[in-house]
Amino acid sequence: MTVTDDARQRLRSMLLTRRFEERCAELYSASKIRGFLHLSIGQEAVSTGAVRALTADDAIVATYREHGHALARGVPAETLMAEMYGRAEGCCGGRGGSMHLFDASRRFYGGNAIVAAGLPLAVGLAMADQAQGRPNVTACFFGEGAMAEGEFHEAMNLAALWKLPVLFLCENNGYAMGTALARSESETDLCLKASAYEVPAWPVDGMDVEAVEASVAHAALAVREGGGPHFLELRTYRFRAHSMYDPDLYRSKQEIADWKLRDPLITYPQQLEARGMEADDLQVLEREVKAELDAAVEFAEGGTPAPVGELLRHVYAEAS
């Protein structure tokens, strides 16, 4: 392979996310995974590109559609899959499930099942970093649907007013469940909403992993250097339904097909081949990823059911 390591890592990360979620869908059908399951298939360039642009000390706040972000952050597929299975070995001991993946050691502040509720949290994490003089950025992911919630506005204003190191990352996949953006916002130019808080904002092609990575790196640097919060609109699309319950009645097959032409797992390998990646290198990655996921599923299958005897533990913090 003649492409850079970085390129290969990007591809691998997106592939891992895609295949992980495909497995989850299968395991859901097999009733191994339950509850709500929201897949980000189609949006992998966002999670991979954005998370790669952050440092290990930066904080990440995500939503219920966060498998890709967790994987990109390096949370092992094994502990994630074990979590989906409700296992003691899961990243939250089986208590969170798909919507609530946390990893304190990686500053991954998880999964949140209340739309827009992560934004005030991100503001607070950034306050803590700022107060303690740590040069960290808090990257806060949310969907475009969240921008109609009051919490979005309160959080933007607080972050801007106090010049906090928050990077607001809007994953605009065009829909909030079945509601297209134009039926949710009177003004669909989302960056204008950030401008109303004097927050620098620009749109990014969210199907282009390198564009995402470059933009997030650029914005994160500005934030880190004291430039106050920034906002990026990452334009992307989800290929699958909102959740496993969604009959997907609200958009046309053609629209989905059109977006699939821009599938980062098709276009990025093509780009890399044009740059000199060997034809079977993708196969090598696929095999690596498959092995990793086989192991993850095996790990989850062999895991311990979350112990009922510990149900009452951690309702309150244990005395330290």
Partner: protein, 339 residues
């Protein structure tokens, strides 16, 4: 053709699900009164997040089946305003978990306006939401907070537990000139029953005896009813005759029905899926202990959820929620049988 010569009525008695029953009631109300409209997140194009409104967009159009942005406080407040302005809005707040975002509008505006204005305004808004746990949706999607709403004077709070009640509840709520909150337990949507073609109207308030018995009264409401009926059936096999009282409406509360039953059975178990401390069950228990104190042969028992954020893993969730077994054990305790 005389009655005698009529061919036998076709035996296909189609069953109706709870979900369909709600839809049919809503549809009736919309056909009967063009001031009625439905508004909420994904009620239209998506078909309703629990499928209650599926198909209605096509029939009634986007102004009467109105999709809203994610703005719970905004659109619940708008529903309240529209009600004051003369409309009859049905606002769907997807789930009780999200209703916290709209709580100020409900508690501080909908519930106060009539009294505070000395009766100048009434607020005929209907607010529907899914409640409860049991589907492995974890800590932020499993609340049972209908008891909170039932604390607030000015609101009416109903918890349809049967397909029949689901069929009648929306028209009954719309006929009431006050803010009515309908709590639909997520586990009930697929329940089904055979309904008459032209069901009679139901009353909004008042408890219903779902099973008669003489040894102990099991008081419950909403999503817990099926489990409680199961427990009663089990108890009957062990020789304990349990009466099952479905409260149906938490505010106003049918205290008379509760007391009348307990005065006959002398024992009570309250089942409420909310966390045990401070659940609505506490109110029911307290009233019994106050008003039927001298009739009680045993302490009132309460079965609620274990006091933890509801976890995802099935075994953990099951362990946190009221079970038939816990209900049975409590009922047996009241009759002096400790297993």
């Amino acid at each position: 053709m005389t009655a005698a010569s009529k061919p036998a009525a076709p035996e296909a008695t189609p069953t109706t699900t709870y979900r369909e029953a709600l839809r049919a009631g809503l549809r009736d109300a919309m056909l009967a009164d063009d001031r009625v409209f439905l508004m909420g997140e994904d009620v239209g194009a998506y078909g309703g997040s629990f499928g209650v409104s599926r198909g209605l967009l096509k029939e009634f159009g986007p102004l009467r089946i109105r999709d809203t942005p994610l703005s719970e406080s905004g659109f619940v407040g708008a529903g309240i305003g529209a009600a004051i302005g003369g409309m009859r809005p049905v606002v769907e707040v997807m789930t009780v978990n999200f209703s916290l975002l709209a709580l100020d509008q409900i508690v501080n505006t909908a519930a106060t306006l009539s009294h505070m204005s000395n009766g100048q305004f009434s607020v005929p808004v209907v607010i529907r939401m899914t409640t409860g746990a049991g589907r492995q949706l974890a800590a932020q999607h499993s609340h049972s907070l209908e008891g909170w709403y039932a604390h607030v004077p000015g609101l009416k709070v109903v918890t349809p537990a049967t397909v029949e009640d689901a069929r009648g509840i929306i028209p009954a709520a719309l006929a009431d000139p006050n803010p009515v909150l309908i709590f639909e337990h997520g586990s009930l949507y697929t329940d089904s029953a055979v309904l008459p073609a032209d069901p009679a109207p139901i009353s909004l308030t008042g408890a219903a005896t779902r099973r008669s018995g003489s040894d102990v009264t099991l008081v419950t409401f909403g999503g817990s009813l099926p489990r409680v009926l199961e427990a009663a059936e089990f108890l009957s096999q062990t020789g304990v005759s349990a009466e099952v009282l479905d409260l149906r409406c938490l505010r106003p509360l049918d205290e008379d029905a509760i007391l009348a039953s307990v005065r006959r059975t002398h024992r009570a178990v309250i089942v409420d899926e909310a966390w045990r401390s401070g659940a609505f069950a506490a109110e029911v228990a307290a009233r019994i202990a106050e008003r039927a104190f001298y009739d009680l042969d045993a302490p009132v028992e309460r079965i609620g959820s274990v006091e933890v954020p509801i976890p995802y893993a099935k075994a953990l969730e099951d362990a946190a929620l009221p079970t038939v077994e816990r209900i049975v054990t409590a009922a047996l305790r009241t009759v002096g049988r400790h297993e």
